[in-house]
């Protein structure tokens, strides 16, 4: 037996899914997050039952990929828990009627029930049940209210099959039901609603956006640095260093295993950033430098998602983004790319045209540094002065704009118009924010740690074998000539295939000037995405488009790197 959670985008299906399966799905307050569906299971009586969180759709008519998927899932069978937004009955019930006409067993979860009171909406549950012919259970997924009752109603789900209707007849039927079961009271604009409107209208919205983004930038940097200075650095220097020094002595101070595990000592002391040992640099970069930034970055992003700010940002940016061949909605995968390219590239599926997906995916791979890379940029370049950090980000932003503009002109096809719901601002639940943060950080660590340690291991081994010297000599003309970097930097570029943060870290021992550091960071960010992102990119674009994207990466890196070298 299967249970399908179906409903409009943005009604709280994912929150409900998390509650009834106990598994965790990422929950956000904007439409389009759940495009690939999520599977979980729950106990129904004695049985273990599969639960599927179906992509949000407004109807079963296939006007988009998400709706096609949803329609197919209904046909495949199961009991449907139709999640309906209680504050938006009219539009939500259209899908309900379509589902009922299909004759599938159905229960309605009338979610966001707590919100109805604030909005002056009263719904007569008994009447609604009678009019629809199925059970209707009020729920508040975010707090867990009503969930138990909902689950109790699932086995007995009814399927009254009304006669099929035309689209107009269906809307008429919805209108009839709503006018009988719902009463609306007038109420005044709350301050939250005033804020909502202000963040949307360009006059006030743009200043708010600039303020929000600037505040986020400084919050991420400030808190990140704070955690490094007061928590992780002391931890490493006071607790881990003595342990490593003892290991170093035990291994005899040099030799293959010593260099691989502990790294190379400088004048008998251990510099965590430069030693390149798996247990020293490997752990240090991940936990001391990258993790603090990842934490605060994902917290800020999660808050913006859950509050519902991102769609408003998408509207403000839409006209600009159209000139770059994307539409405003593409800001969402792009912002996810500032965390990690892997989920960002997967999120490009919410975009509707192949052209748009290509442009956005290419831009994410080239111009958007992931949080790990950003952390290293802050750490390494920041030591020279924060104006250089801004320079790196500024150049990347300019590349994003320019390349987007060029691709918009060059790539054939169309980009569809924006059509999205702007959800009301909702104060997120602490539990939701923490859960999502934990999931993202844990996912990052699980995925990144093995690769980082593997990368350092490979680097140490190849160093010992002299492979890097050979490659460095071979590519010297390109690297020094065009980019103005010492030929050893090629090692960093090669490592960039595996992990961006280690790659940037490998610029540290080269003794570069501030200008050279800027060039190095920009080139490393732009060149190729790390292996994990590369794999996802290949899957999303397909072979031919991947080659096109790679060509664009190489050409633009050479041009931008070369120009920067001339200028700085």
């Amino acid at each position: 037996m299967r249970v399908l959670l179906m409903g409009n985008p943005n009604v709280g299906k994912s929150a409900l899914f998390t509650r009834i399966t106990g598994t965790n799905a990422v929950v956000s307050n904007y439409a389009g997050t759940t495009v690939g569906f999520t599977r979980g299971s729950m106990k129904l009586g004695d049985e273990e039952v599969e639960v599927i969180d179906v992509p949000g759709t407004y109807s079963l008519e296939p006007t988009s990929k998400a709706e096609e998927v949803a329609a197919k899932m209904v046909d495949a069978g199961g009991i449907i828990v139709n999640v309906v937004d209680a504050t938006n009955l009219e539009r939500n019930l259209y899908l309900t009627l379509e589902l009922l006409e299909k004759g599938v067993p159905l229960v309605v979860a009338l979610n966001m029930w707590d919100d109805t009171r604030h909005r002056g909406i009263t719904v007569d549950i008994a009447k609604l049940e009678r009019l629809l012919g199925v059970s209707v259970v009020p729920t508040v997924a975010v707090s867990g209210q009503g969930i138990k009752e909902l689950v109790e109603h699932i086995p007995g789900a009814r399927s009254p099959k009304p006669a099929p209707r035309t689209r107009d007849e269906r809307w008429a039927a919805v209108g009839g039901i709503v006018s009988e079961a719902q009463t609306l009271a007038h109420r005044h604009h709350t301050w939250l609603e005033r804020l909502q409107d202000a963040s949307l209208k360009p006059g006030t919205g743009i200043p708010i956006a600039i303020l929000t983004l600037t505040a986020s930038f400084f919050a991420v940097r400030g808190v990140g640095e704070g955690i490094i200075r007061y928590v992780t650095d002391p931890l490493f220097n006071k607790l881990w260093e003595p342990v490593m020094m003892r290991l170093s002595d035990a291994l005899g101070g040099s030799g293959f295993w010593h260099d691989v595990l502990v790294g190379r000592l400088l004048d008998g002391t251990l510099d965590f950033e430069q030693s390149m040992g798996v247990l020293t640099t490997g752990l240090y970069i991940e936990f001391a430098i990258v993790l603090p930034y990842i934490l605060i970055f994902y917290l800020v992003l999660g808050l913006m998602e859950d509050i519902g700010y991102l769609p408003r940002l998408a509207v403000l940016l839409d006209s600009v983004m159209h000139r770059l061949g994307m539409h405003g909605y593409a800001i969402i995968p792009s912002m996810l790319g500032m965390g990690c390219a892997v989920p960002a590239l997967m999120a490009t599926r919410i975009l509707e045209s192949k052209r748009e997906r290509f442009i956005v995916a290419t831009l994410i791979s080239i111009a958007i540094p992931c949080a790990a890379a950003q952390a290293m940029i802050f750490g390494l370049v920041g030591a020279e002065g924060w104006q250089y950090v801004l320079l790196v980000f500024g150049v990347l932003f300019a590349v994003w704009l320019t390349l987007g503009f060029v691709l918009n002109l060059a790539v054939k096809g169309f980009s569809p118009e924006l059509l999205i719901e702007i959800p009301p601002y909702r104060l997120p639940s602490l539990r939701g924010v923490v859960t999502k943060l934990w999931l993202r950080v844990w996912g990052f660590l699980k995925e990144a740690l093995p690769i980082i340690m593997g990368a350092i291991f490979v680097v140490s081994v190849l160093y010992s074998l002299g492979v890097f010297d050979a490659i460095a000599n071979f590519t010297a003309p390109l690297v020094s000539g065009i980019f103005g970097l010492p030929k050893e930097a090629v090692v960093a570029i090669i490592i960039g295939f595996m992990r961006k943060d280690i790659a940037i870290g490998m610029l540290a021992p080269l003794g570069l000037s501030a200008g050279q550091l800027v060039v190095g960071c920009v080139v490393l960010t732009m060149f190729f995405p790390c292996v994990a992102a590369f794999v996802v990119l290949a899957k999303e674009l397909g072979f031919k488009k991947l080659l096109a994207a790679m060509a664009i990466m190489i050409v633009s890196t050479i041009i931008v790197g070369g120009l920067l070298n001339l200028v700085l």
Partner: protein, 80 residues
Amino acid sequence: MTEKKKISICHLRQGQSGRVIEILGGHSIAERLNSMGIRPDKNITKVSSSFMRGPVTISVDRCQIAIGYGMAQKVMVEVI
């Protein structure tokens, strides 16, 4: 009977309401808008104007929806 003037939602003033009369253009646009609740005989209120031909935001049934400029030009309403 005098015919009331039809204008697109792009030309509504902020805060003005209109009743949807028709949706110009092809089948698919009307369908997309339809499932979001924007269809003939529906009352909508303009929330925000477009900026540099950006999206138009309207309110339908207490729900806000942003519509790209090109599409918005095809949604014809009668001012109420």
